[in-house]
Each structure stands twice: as structure tokens, then as C-alpha cells.
């Protein structure tokens, strides 16, 4: 067992995070098995409280949808959107950050101004603009969430590249005639990636929160089972049947917490300095 893995397993945050993550993954994987029906379809009389009907474990919402089935199918949607958006954000951020950090000079200046422009416009408002312009299909929303989240990974990669580009092994590779692309992707990038991978869990958590907020406002794809969507639908019966909004919120909380905890565990494992204090 590698020391990093052992350190990860010693961090309570990491273990709890992995446990919660497994829970969410099981819910997502078993959705079709336990709840083969369309999660958006009518499952029974609307507004049955959890436990009232043994067939519907978590009850039904105001549209008569089975909440338990909706939660499990929603786990797929959240994980899928979160994962793809994270890949887009981290991929784009890594590419821009690598180029800016490697070349420096005016290239860096220009790219950093663009990064600052993205950081200056509030992410969620930029997301609204993208949705208003390009529509709210699943693909559009996923890519848009990725597009508004690339600046933090970009700055991280840039900082790593700036400190790594003058290391001896890079100079040696350059002396051997390796081209820029080879230096960037094969020499420096593998060494710059660990902090980015840790940070990806934060990007994932933020992406899931953003999608749920969008769905809550009714601006996400209406044809998918999104947790935020059910919270929004439950608003009209909030005074009496508050569980309709409460239950999907717990699902979001657990999922986001799982990714934050995994990130924390990875951080503890790779950066043990603060523990020693």
C-alpha cells in the first residue's frame, strides 16, 4: 500500500467521504433495478407522506411522482452532469493554465486577462446568460457549467507550471530537443497534476450545486429527473407538505458532502504539514 493511500485511509474525513460516495453510487447504479418506471411518471396519489404507503417508501410529491425513485434516478443525473462539467472545467483550465504558465510574457498576460474577465462576471449570472442564449437542454447546461468553472483550475495549473518550467529535468529535456508540446504535456503536466486532481473534487461539488440551483429555478432541462427540480416543484406545497422539498435537498447535501470530504481526505494525505501542528 502506498504511503499516500495509507494516509488517506487514516483521515476520518476521507473514509466518511468514500462511504457517502459509495451510497450515492449505489443509488445511481440500482435506479433502473429498484425503480424501473420512468421517474417523471405518475406513481400514485399525490402528496402521500413518507411511510404512509409501504409501496412508496419516501411518499409522493405534488405531481404524484415516487420520491424514492426520483432520488435514485436523480443521483445519476447529478453525477453525470457533475462529472462531465468537471472534465470540461478541469480540461480547459489545465490547457489554458499550462500555456500561460509555460510561455509567460505577453501570452500569459493576455490569457490572465481573459481568466480575470471570467472571474469578474459572477459565475451563476454567466450561466444564466449561456442558458438564455443557447437554451436549457442537458448537453448545453452541462457544458455551460463546465465553462463557468474553469478559472480556478487554470490558476492552479499556471502556478505549478511557473515553478516547474525552470527545473533541471525540464531544461534537460529541452536540451535533448524535445518540442514545446512534449515539454508541456509529457514532462511538466504529470508533475503539475496532483493538486489539480485534489481540486477537481471541489469543482465537482460546485458543479452539482450549480445544476441543482438551475433546476430549482426551473431553468434546467425539464425532461430529466433533477433533484433541484423536485425542490422547486415542492415550493407550492411548502407550508404543509414540506417533505417534498426537504428530501431531495438531503440528497444534494449528502452528495456534495461526499465530494468535499473526499477532497479533504486527499488533501490531508498529500499535504500532511498542517496535521503536525
Amino acid at each position: 500500500m502506498s504511503p499516500a493511500l495509507r494516509a488517506f485511509l487514516r483521515s476520518p474525513a476521507g473514509i466518511l467521504g468514500v462511504a457517502l460516495l459509495v451510497l450515492v453510487l449505489v443509488a445511481a447504479a440500482s435506479a433502473d433495478w429498484f425503480f424501473p418506471r420512468d421517474p417523471l411518471s405518475l406513481a400514485g396519489r399525490p402528496l402521500q407522506w413518507p411511510g404512509q404507503n409501504p409501496r412508496l417508501l419516501l411518499g409522493t410529491d405534488n405531481l404524484g411522482r415516487d420520491i424514492a425513485g426520483f432520488i435514485c434516478h436523480g443521483a445519476r443525473v447529478s453525477l453525470l452532469i457533475g462529472l462531465v462539467a468537471t472534465v470540461v472545467a478541469v480540461g480547459l483550465g489545465t490547457l489554458v493554465g499550462a500555456i500561460a504558465g509555460f510561455y509567460g510574457g505577453w501570452v500569459d498576460d493576455a490569457l490572465m486577462r481573459v481568466t480575470e474577465a471570467f472571474q469578474t462576471v459572477p459565475n451563476f449570472i454567466l450561466l444564466l446568460v449561456l442558458v438564455a442564449v443557447f437554451g436549457s437542454e442537458l448537453e448545453v447546461i452541462t457544458i455551460a457549467i463546465g465553462l463557468v468553472g474553469w478559472t480556478a483550475p487554470c490558476r492552479l495549473v499556471r502556478a505549478e507550471f511557473m515553478s516547474l518550467r525552470t527545473r533541471e529535468y525540464v531544461l534537460a529535456a529541452r536540451g535533448l530537443g524535445v518540442r514545446d508540446a512534449g515539454l508541456i504535456f509529457r514532462e511538466i503536466l504529470p508533475n503539475a497534476l496532483p493538486p489539480v486532481i485534489v481540486y477537481a473534487s471541489v469543482v465537482m461539488a460546485v458543479a452539482i450545486l450549480m445544476e441543482s440551483a438551475l433546476a430549482f429555478l426551473g431553468l434546467s432541462d425539464p425532461n430529466i429527473a433533477s433533484w433541484g427540480n423536485m425542490i422547486g416543484a415542492g415550493r407550492s406545497v411548502l407550508r404543509t407538505e414540506w417533505y417534498v422539498s426537504a428530501i431531495p435537498g438531503v440528497a444534494i447535501l449528502v452528495t456534495v458532502l461526499a465530494f468535499s470530504l473526499v477532497g479533504q481526505g486527499l488533501n490531508d494525505a498529500l499535504n500532511p504539514r498542517l496535521q503536525a501542528v
Binding site: E116, A117, F124, L126, V131, A213, L238, W242
Partner: protein, 325 residues
Amino acid sequence: MKRVGALALRRLAQSVPVLLIILVGLFLLLQLAPGDTVDALLAQMGGGDAAVAARLRQDYGLDVSVPVQLGRYLVRLLSFDLGMSAIYGKPVASVIFERLSVTALFMSCALAFAFSAGLVLGVVAARRVNGWPDTLISTLGLVFYAIPSFWLGLMLIVLFSVKLAWLPPGGFESIGEGLTGLAHVLDVARHLVLPILSLSLIFLAIYLRLMRASMLEVMTLDFVRTARAKGLSEGHVLRRHVLRNALLPMVTFVGLQFSTMLGGSVVVESVFSLPGLGRLAFESVVQRDLNTLLGIVLVSAVLVIVVNFIVDLLYAKLDPRIVAR
């Protein structure tokens, strides 16, 4: 004071190209959008022939080349003409201005609460690192960070407005009671308690984690050991030596996080029907009022730049090592 001003002004000058990139980016984004203003207008009017469309395009200046349109667009913005709002039938600038004060009050309260509560909790956690208060506070921080603000808002409404009937479930002030003076201030404050809690909890979590880490970092530095060796009391070391240095990353973060907070206000203002900028942004997306939406993007970008300017000034005042180069 002069050097502080010079540094902040230099940073402010750097934000001019950033603003320009945002403007050009928005313009290009609109070019990519399927259909232009005239298509939208014709659809609203229930269709029209090619001649009408051509005349409308001429009226709206859409018949010239893209670079010329971009130039005109920038000139218009420089004179603070943000165009007309399609749903309110008023200039966008005045629609936004009406909503700005609510958001400004809401944001500054939420920021102040998140900052001070995060600071206090972070200091307490760092003082007893790995003890039970630290574990409790750090766990709470992780949970707060994972709670979606809009869901928290709804649950607070259920608890404090529906079940306990302590606080109003939404709005900015009681309508039709004609409250003035202190009564009015208290009324607005009562309306703002729940929105502020919903929006700031996630930022509180960020600040408390940052403050804790920053305190732990500073406490290991040599000058703290020196201060202790001088025989200063622990409280004095903490207040005069550790705190001031540990605050620096917190202050930087206010600037970095302000834009995220402004984005978060969209959802929270919608939950609590606060008539602010965020709710306006949501309404303009639903109603496809792109002029208003873009106006909000611009105003919020300017707000973020102004807040960062203030943060720079504060930072330079706190840290005497910063010198304008």
C-alpha cells in the same frame, strides 16, 4: 497613504482591459445566439414579411457589418446607455438602478455576517486545534459548505415562518403599513434575517476554514515565538501578533468570493422574493429579456471590480510590507 492609493489605482487600471474583454465577449455571445432582436420582435408581433424585417434591421442598426456593430455597441455603453428593457418598457439602466440598493444592503449584511462569524469560529477552532471545539466547528464547516442555499432558505421558511411564525417568509418590507424611522429599519431587518442566513452559511464555512488554516500557519512563525518568549500574555500575542497577519488571506478572499456571492444572490433573492438585482436576473432569463440580463452582467462586473478595489486598499493598510512597485 499615497503608496497605498498608487497600488490600488494600478490594480484598477488593470481591470480596464478585463472589462473590455467582458463587453466584447458578451457581444460575440449574442452574435452566436440563434436569431437576432428583429427575429424575436417579429415572433412577438406574430410574423412579418421580408421588407418589414429589413426596415427593422436598419432601425436597430443590424444591417451593418459586425465590427461596426461592435463599435457602436461599445460607444453606447460608454455613455451608460444599456438599451431598453423589453419587459419593463423602461431603460435598462433605470430598471437596474431601482433594484441596486436592495442587493447592496443584502450583500453587505451577508458578507459582514459570514466574515465575522467565520473569523470568530476559525480563531476558536485554531486555538484548540484537534480538540473537540475544533472537531465540532470543522465538521459544521464541511456540512455548511454542502448545503444548497435555496434549500436552506426553504427549510428556514418552514421552521421560522410557518411553524414558529417568528419571521416573515419573504419580501423586503411589510407592504401598506407605512412604517417610518426605526420601525421601518427593524421591519426590513426582520425580513432580511433568513435570506442573510441562507446566503452566508456557505461563505461562513469557507471563511472559517481559511481563518483556521491561516491562524495555524501564522502561529508557527518565528515572530510569534519571540512574542511569547518576551513574556506577553497569550491573549495579547493572539490579538496583536497573530490575528493581524492571519487576517490577510481572509481579506483577499472577500474580493475573490464577492463575485460568487453576487451569483448566489440570484437564487436566494428568488426564494425570498427580494426585489433585488439577482431576482431581476432570474426574471429576465424567464422572459427572454436579453438587454436587461446583459445590463446586469455589466453592473455586477463593475461592482466586483469596485469591491476588489476597496479590498486592495484595505489589504495595503493591513500589511505594511506591501509597497507599490
